[in-house]
Structure formats: C-alpha cells, structure tokens
C-alpha cells in the first residue's frame, strides 16, 4: 500500500499522484485538474464514447476516462491543439441533434453548453443535421426529448448500475442511433423508472427533464451562468436538479 501513494503521473507538467486501478481521469479529478468530459461520471463504469477527454499520453492520444494511470506517463491536457479538437467534437454534438438553447429548459445547467462556453465555441461550424427525433412526454413527471440526447449513455449506466433497473439502451447505428426505453410500448410511462432514480437526474443535457421544475431558477442565474464548467464540480451540477425538486 505504501508504495501506492508515491506513484505519480505528470499532467501538463504537474505531478499528480494516483493509486493502482485509477484512470487518468480519476487521478485528475482527485487533484482538481479539469479534463473536459461528457460521458464520464465517477461511480459509474467508464464508457469512453464522447472522446472529449482525449489527452496526449506520451505523445499518443487516449481517452483519459478509460486509460489506466501508470507510472511515467507524461500527459498533455490543456493545450490549444487538444482544445481545438475538443471544440470540433462539441460542434459535431451540437449539429447532430437539435440544440436550440434559447428554447431549452436545461439552458444554463447544461454540461454540453458549458463545455461550448469553456472552449469558446461560437457556432456549429458543420451543416446542421436537424434530425427528426421522437419526444416522449408520456410519463407524469419526466420528459424524454431525444432532440437533445448526445448518446452519452449516462442514463443507461445509472439505471443498470445504481438503480438496479434497465430502463434505457441505445438502438440503431451511425446517424440512426437513438435512445430507446425498455417497456412494452417503448414509452417512459410504461417503464419502471421513478423520479427518485439516479437515471432520472443524471442527463448532462436537456434530454431527460423533470416536469414542472424547469424554470424554478431563472435563466441567467443558473449553474453555468455563474461558474465555468472547469471550476465547477460536475457532481454538483448533476445533482442541482434533484435539489431544486426537493426544495
């Protein structure tokens, strides 16, 4: 155990301690170093799909949320080149869905949007897909608006790993990929999701929303109106919705 505490990786030249079994992301989060990420949440198994957390490990790109930390790694994270690539990824996420922030309840509390701000994204750059996706408002207290789903699978994992259920999964391939609900009708109302479930609150964007509480905090005074994503503990953000609901 003792020699465990001494192990070090370097992130942008800073010594960061890690324990065996930790990923680069785990070590960075523990050291308060921000690596942009959307599909990762501590406590859930890493997914490695959004690629925003890409860093250069000894000169080779790797996803920090899945790459185990190991002695001797020299990691580049906050570099103009990596942030430019991350910005392009963020732009693709915007144009592949229908992200019209002014009409979205999640605006100001949305991690995708906050990463756009953090990276200085001004426009979607690529031609808009404007896909037509189904909205499921069948449930009494939840809405699933697939227009804004970025397929991060946080809800999928939260349902399986924390709630002990299996409410969501991703279906289809390529541009036809979409989130489906595990119920006979395919509707949320017929699934076993409950408002108390982590899956109901974990969505980093405005795809799974709690009904009737979207405007309790006015636009302009929300989490990322006040903090940048880099200085905010992302756990706090995800849980904010729960707190609003209970207040």
């Amino acid at each position: 155990m003792n020699n465990n505490a001494d192990k070090i990786i370097k992130i942008d030249g800073v010594d960061v301690p890690f324990k065996d079994g930790q990923t680069i992301m785990d070590a960075a989060l523990a050291a308060d170093i921000y690596i942009p990420h959307l599909c990762h949440k501590p406590g859930l198994s890493p997914h490695g799909s959004c690629k925003l957390c890409t860093v250069d490990v000894n000169g080779r790109p790797a996803s920090s949320c899945t790459m185990p930390a190991s002695e001797g790694q020299e990691i580049a994270n906050n570099t103009p080149a990596l942030n430019e690539v991350r910005k392009s990824i963020t732009q693709m996420l915007f144009i592949e869905g229908n992200h019209l922030c002014p009409s979205c309840e999640k605006t100001g509390d949305c991690t995708l949007q906050a990463i756009g701000y953090h990276l200085g994204m001004l426009d979607g750059h690529f031609p808009q897909f404007y896909p037509r996706r189904e909205v499921d408002a069948s449930h009494g207290s939840l809405v699933l608006d697939r227009d804004r789903c970025i397929m991060c699978e946080l809800c999928v994992r939260a349902s399986r790993e924390c709630d002990g259920k299996n409410v969501f999964t991703i279906s289809g391939r390529g541009t036809n990929r979409h989130l489906i609900v595990n119920s006979d009708s395919g509707k949320l109302v017929d699934s076993d999701i409950e408002l108390e479930d982590m899956a109901a609150h974990i969505c980093p964007v405005g795809a799974i929303l709690i009904k009737d509480h979207g405007y309790e905090v006015p636009i302009g005074r929300r989490t990322f109106d006040i903090h940048s994503v880099a200085e905010t503990d992302l756990d706090d953000v995800i849980l904010t919705k729960v707190r609003h609901h209970d207040e």
């Binding site: 915007f94 144009i95 229908n98 992200h99 019209l100 922030c101 002014p102 009409s103 979205c104 605006t107 100001g108 949007q113 756009g116 701000y117 953090h118 200085g120 001004l122 426009d123 979607g124 031609p127 808009q128 404007y130 037509r132 636009i219 109106d225 940048s228």
Partner: protein, 178 residues
C-alpha cells in the same frame, strides 16, 4: 476621418437582437460619432450600399431572406452573424421537424380561431424555404456574436474592437447561447 458604415438587417428573426442593440442606451450617442448606418430597420433605408460592417440577425426562412443576405455579403467588408437564429437557425428552425405543408396547414387552416381558412399565395409574398438554415450555410461569415439576444454590452464590445482595428472578442462570461 470618415465614419465607419454599418448596415443591419433582421432576416427570419424576432428583432430581439436589434432591440438588444438599442439597449446600449446613451452609449449609442458616442458610437454615432464614429459610425453611420446604411440600410437598417433603425433608419428604414431599404437597400444596401457598400459599407464596412453588416450585422445580420435571423435565420434564412424564405427566398427574400436569401436575397437580402447575398446583397449584404456583396456590399459589406465584414459580416457578423448576430444571435442564435443567424448562427444555428434558432427558434425558427423548430419548424424543420415538420414539412412546409404541415406548417402552413397548421398556421392557416387548422389552428384554433383561424378566420377565413386559406393558405396565402399572393405573388408579392416571398416563397418559403422548405427548411430553415443558418446564414453561414449560404455566405461566408466573418464573426459570430452568439446570444438570444446578445447583450447590449456585447454589441458595444464588438463594435468598439472593430473601430479600434482589433479582432473582436468577448470575455468568457459574455459568451451565451441563450
């Protein structure tokens, strides 16, 4: 020194960006010492003359929007896409989920309270595009000013930067998509 010439227009927008521009209140007096408006809803001049800066609000929703946008691009040295609609289609692009026919039927035939239901087809009316598009899909855009609308301070900052010959920039806290 001659004044910097600025043109502005609202394509498929709500004029909210123009209202926000005017929210600069008395600061517009100082600005007018350096700037003069060519075509703009502010002075109701209808045609674009060669000018330095074009501020474009709104998305491309109909054939006239495309025509006006191209006129601006031909006449302006710098085009700035102002607001969410110009940048990604914004709220007008919500109609992209539906066919044009469905939209027209909903608005002019089926909507509750419609009087004398018929779809207007006067020759004077510009043809609607089948989908709404952001402006950078049709012309080259030089700068983007996000926000719905961008705050007056952001307009002041961008125009001040340009007047000083600098690349316009915004402090992070002024960058908003809503």
């Amino acid at each position: 020194m001659s004044k910097v010439r600025v043109g502005t227009t609202s394509l498929g927008g709500c004029f909210g960006c123009h209202m926000s521009f005017l929210d600069m209140d008395e600061r517009i007096v100082g600005l007018m010492e350096h700037v003069e408006f060519t075509r703009s809803p502010i002075n109701d001049i209808k045609h674009c003359e060669p000018c330095d800066i074009g501020l474009i609000e709104g998305a491309l929703c109909n054939a006239d929007n495309v025509h006006v946008l191209k006129e601006f691009r031909e006449n302006c040295k710098i085009i700035i896409a102002v607001g969410a609609c110009a940048i990604n289609g914004g709220v007008p692009a919500m109609r992209n989920h539906f066919s044009l026919q469905e939209c027209l039927e909903e608005a002019f035939l089926d909507e509750i309270g419609v009087d004398n239901p018929h779809i207007p087809n006067n020759k004077e009316l510009p043809l609607l595009l089948s989908k709404v598009h952001p402006i950078h899909e049709v012309v080259k855009v030089d700068y983007y000013l996000p926000g719905c609308p961008p705050p007056a301070d952001a307009f002041v900052k961008v125009l001040t930067d340009l007047l000083e010959g600098k690349e316009p920039s915004l402090p992070k806290e002024m960058l908003h998509y809503d």
